[in-house]
Amino acid sequence: MFSYILRRLAQMLPLLFFASVAIFALVALQPGDPLDELRMSNPLMTSEQSAQLRRAYGLDQPIYVRYFKWLGRAVTGDLGRSRTYGLPAGEFIFEQRLPRTLILTVTSLTIALLIAIPVGIFSAVRQYSAGDYAITFLSFVGLSTPNFFLGIILMYLFVIWLPETFGIRSLPVGGIPNLMLSDLQSGQVTLGEFVGQWARHLVLPVFTLASGSIAAWTRFMRASMLEVLNQDYVRTARSKGLTERKVLYKHALRNGLIPIVTLVGLSMPALFNGALITETIFSYPGMGRAIFDALIHKDFNVAMAALVFIAILVVFFNLVADVMYAVVDPRIRYD
């Protein structure tokens, strides 16, 4: 196993190299360059000045030269500065955007699981009951409602309609609270206020983001449980006289959860990508927006840092998944 992991790690290096080449080429080959916007806002810019700025940004060099200069610095941990934000690209991505994206996506994932698993089980156990039909209906509504639509409807409901109709305080329209960890550490706000403010800001984007997962995973959970419940060993458990509770939670659920675990595992890299549409609707400063803005504004260093990081995550989680298969299934051996 150890030699297998080493071999896979060694294979990752050329894979990541080619991935970074492809990402750099795609980013660099977009039409236009970062000076276009500047030129449009400054009609006085002469061609000499434009050429001087191209040189200052290194845009006068061939793509391969720019790539190897970027690579040479990246392997030393220097990811360059964001052309848009002026900050070191690494600081911008890993200190500002990534933690916020993880707050949003992990909360959303957790809530989706907490809702989808019990509801899916209920739906399977009470197959064809009124509750099952209601859950099935709502699941299909959730699956077929796009995030951008749901987000705006929720915003209208909780920010305008309910407050105007019933006089209740509206939820924030988005963004993040004007609070920093240092406020908590210095005692300027209590833990309750800190969590409360974050909760108020997160409730709408989290529900918007989680709605699709809740709907999909409820359906998966229901299907998986139904399959397991029809297995011989469940019938055997029942015939042994076990209580229905034991049959469900000890025998059926553990096997029924396996497909869900696979699905959740596959969605792990997505936690780091951010959620572009939800982040956009709710003005949430996460990774999705950061990557999108970096590509639109041709901010090479930020785009490269973020996309190569995601490529590393994908490769890494693939390795973790393969190793986990061997851990959970004794029949699989990597030699």
């Binding site: 236009g32 061609s47 000045q49 200052a56 934000y85 900050l87 329209v173 003005s283 949430y284």
Partner: protein, 615 residues
């Protein structure tokens, strides 16, 4: 635990902030967040929202007031020929040297109490003169010299000078006592690199130097000082920037306690979300970088306006227009005779521009007749105006040999015997819904006179890329191109955009902004005289004649000047903007005077004098 639960409940239900007159604060909603603040020399970049926020926390030598006039700010008086502080010397070839002899006030200090002196001017000047510094306006600084005589007196020399140099502060100030040490380190690091092979690395070092004093973390750590009426106290990236009054500022109003004491810029990047914030009263006023024109006129906003907030439309110098390809070597241009002014006149007569602005903008973005804003001191109101007159269009086209074919589309026979149809390519930025609606309106009008419009839109990154934008000569676009030029009062005095020599062609390696290849020699001659005429009163007739030629020859087809919507909660006073105040017209003209009427703040400026109101 119970305390946690109680405070959690309270913050869920009540929230932490109370804005408005109760605590004499102001919340401003913006759809963009500054990248950094204090980059006054534009080393890292230019950003509208950063410039607007900097109005609150930095002051300059001069102030550009609501009427686009210069007022002394940090200096004792504005340099003029009359007061002897401006000396103009003829240096031959029609060029002049201008010396501005200025004196700093002796009662101005940075926010840490350190006096503002000529050291701060000399320091900023040194930065602008550093090789490899990625300045956005290198031309201006390359013509500049600064001499310091003592702590208050200094001279700025511009050679050769241009008229546009005289309508702005000659140079900004940076706090030498705070930044000099880090600057020396940056210069040391850059000097170890090869300027030929490491230009990008050198510019990163200098941009890093600026960022280290202007980023959110730098501001939160208090790494630098400020010169304006407010100082930033806290910047939560992605959320808000809070400012409070600078007690050491020299120009606060009497009874300063009656005016707002704290300001919060709230960054809500999605304009729909920002719209919700406005209608729920979560923000008191909007930034100039805020909801779109359409959104300001949406029923959600207008229906809730009465007794709550005013909706203003501040005219800007952002000019929407149609470039018409006039590169005669392009076959489609020659076939359609776009290089003949009669064709362009036929096109403009066919477009009901007044109906368009009424239908799409409630008339709040007025039709333009040339390329200079009506609020520019050089504006000429008496240029040729083209009314909607499709019959005149058809007559002009008939004179040019066009006749209607069976399908209603115009066609003619060229000199070489080919029959060509009037199929006009029409390009604009895909995804800009407002512009695309204007395009549909214009295309429909042109179809009425027999012009078959072929829409060819693409994202702005494509249409503004050099291989498209600058290659009209090679036929990258062959008909009309709709976009906007953004200008300040200073840039509108330069007027280099439509010079014959600035048409991008292979001969000049496709440089220049005159992308359509328009060429009127009389216009060029006037411009070259106007730009070096430093007596602006004497320059005015030259600029006005240029506008007359522009309209007569239809160098480009003018559509309208955009307006910026600004929403102001009733009770807020002096949150006022005009087309050119402060250079680009960002609100407010005088941040130190913004307040709530119910708290006793006196009304100094009236927005109605500078903007149109939604009724």
């Amino acid at each position: 635990m119970s305390r946690f639960i109680v405070s959690l409940f309270l913050s869920l239900v009540v929230g932490l902030t109370f804005a408005g007159p109760q605590d004499n604060s102001l919340v401003i909603g913006a759809s963009q967040e500054p990248v950094l603040l204090g980059d006054l020399l534009d080393v890292v970049g230019t950003q509208a929202i950063a410039s607007e926020v900097e109005l609150w926390i930095y002051d300059g030598l001069y102030h550009i007031n609501l009427d686009a006039e210069l007022e002394p700010n940090f200096v004792t008086e504005v340099a003029t020929v009359e007061n002897g502080r401006m000396v103009i010397t003829d240096i031959g070839d029609g060029d002049s040297r201008v010396e501005l002899n200025l004196t700093l006030r002796d009662d101005i200090v940075w926010s840490d109490g350190h006096p503002i002196t000529t050291d701060d001017i000399a320091f900023a000047f040194e930065i602008t003169q550093t090789p490899g510094m990625p300045l956005r306006s290198p031309d201006y600084y390359s013509r500049m010299n600064v001499e310091v005589f003592d702590a208050q007196n200094f001279r700025v020399t511009l050679e050769p000078a241009q008229s546009s140099d005289l309508v702005q502060s000659p140079i900004d100030l940076l706090p030498a006592h705070v930044m000099a040490e880090a600057w020396a380190a940056a210069v040391g690091a850059a000097s170890a690199l090869d300027p030929d092979t490491d230009a990008a690395r050198i510019s990163e070092i200098y941009q890093g130097f600026m960022t280290d004093f202007g980023s959110s973390s730098a501001i939160n750590e208090g790494r630098t000082v400020y010169s304006g009426p407010f100082v930033p106290v806290r910047w939560t990236p992605g959320s808000a920037l809070q400012l409070r009054r600078n007690p050491l500022y020299f120009n606060h109003p009497e009874n300063v306690a009656d005016y707002v004491q704290t300001v919060e810029y709230r960054f809500i990047t999605d304009t729909n979300a920002l719209l919700f914030s406005i209608v729920t009263g979560a923000v008191d006023v909007t930034s100039s970088v805020s909801i779109t024109f359409d959104q300001a006129l949406s029923p959600q906003v207008t229906a809730r306006a009465a007794d709550r907030y005013d909706i203003w439309f501040v005219p800007s110098a952002t000019w929407e227009h149609l470039e018409v390809n006039q590169h005669s070597n392009v076959r489609q241009v020659a076939d359609l005779q776009l290089d003949d002014v009669r064709t362009r006149r036929a096109i403009i007569h066919a477009i009901d521009r007044q109906a368009m602005v009424e239908a799409l903008f409630d008339g709040l973005q007025p039709v333009s007749h040339a390329n200079v804003s009506p609020f520019d001191p050089m504006y000429n109101p008496d240029v040729r105006q083209y009314a909607y007159d499709p019959e005149q269009s058809e007559q002009l086209l008939s004179e040019l040999g066009w006749t209607r074919a069976g399908d209603g589309i115009l066609q003619r026979t060229t000199a070489d015997g080919r029959t060509v149809r009037f199929e006009l390519e029409f390009v604009t930025t895909a995804g800009n819904a407002v512009r695309e609606r204007q395009q549909q309106f214009i295309a429909e009008d042109l179809r009425q006179i027999g012009i078959d419009v072929r829409i060819n839109n693409a994202p702005s990154s494509v249409v503004f890329a050099p291989d498209f934008f600058d290659r009209g000569f090679d036929g990258s676009w062959t008909g009309m191109f709709m976009f906007a030029w953004v200008s300040s009062q200073a840039s509108s005095l330069n007027q280099a955009g439509y010079l014959c020599r600035n048409a991008p062609t292979p001969a000049n390696n496709y440089s220049g902004q005159n992308l359509a290849g328009a060429c009127v020699e009389a216009y060029d001659e006037l411009r070259d005289l106007a730009v070096v005429e430093l007596d602006l009163d004497a320059a005015r007739p030259l600029y006005q004649e240029m506008q007359a030629i522009f309209a007569e020859e239809l160098i480009a087809i003018p559509l309208l000047f955009r307006s910026n919507p600004v929403i102001v909660t009733q009770g807020v006073v002096n949150y006022v903007a005009s087309t050119f105040n402060g250079g680009y017209g960002y609100p407010p003209a005088r941040p130190e005077l913004v307040g709530w009427a119910q708290n006793g703040a006196a009304v100094t400026f009236d927005q109605a004098a500078y903007a149109l109101a939604f009724e």
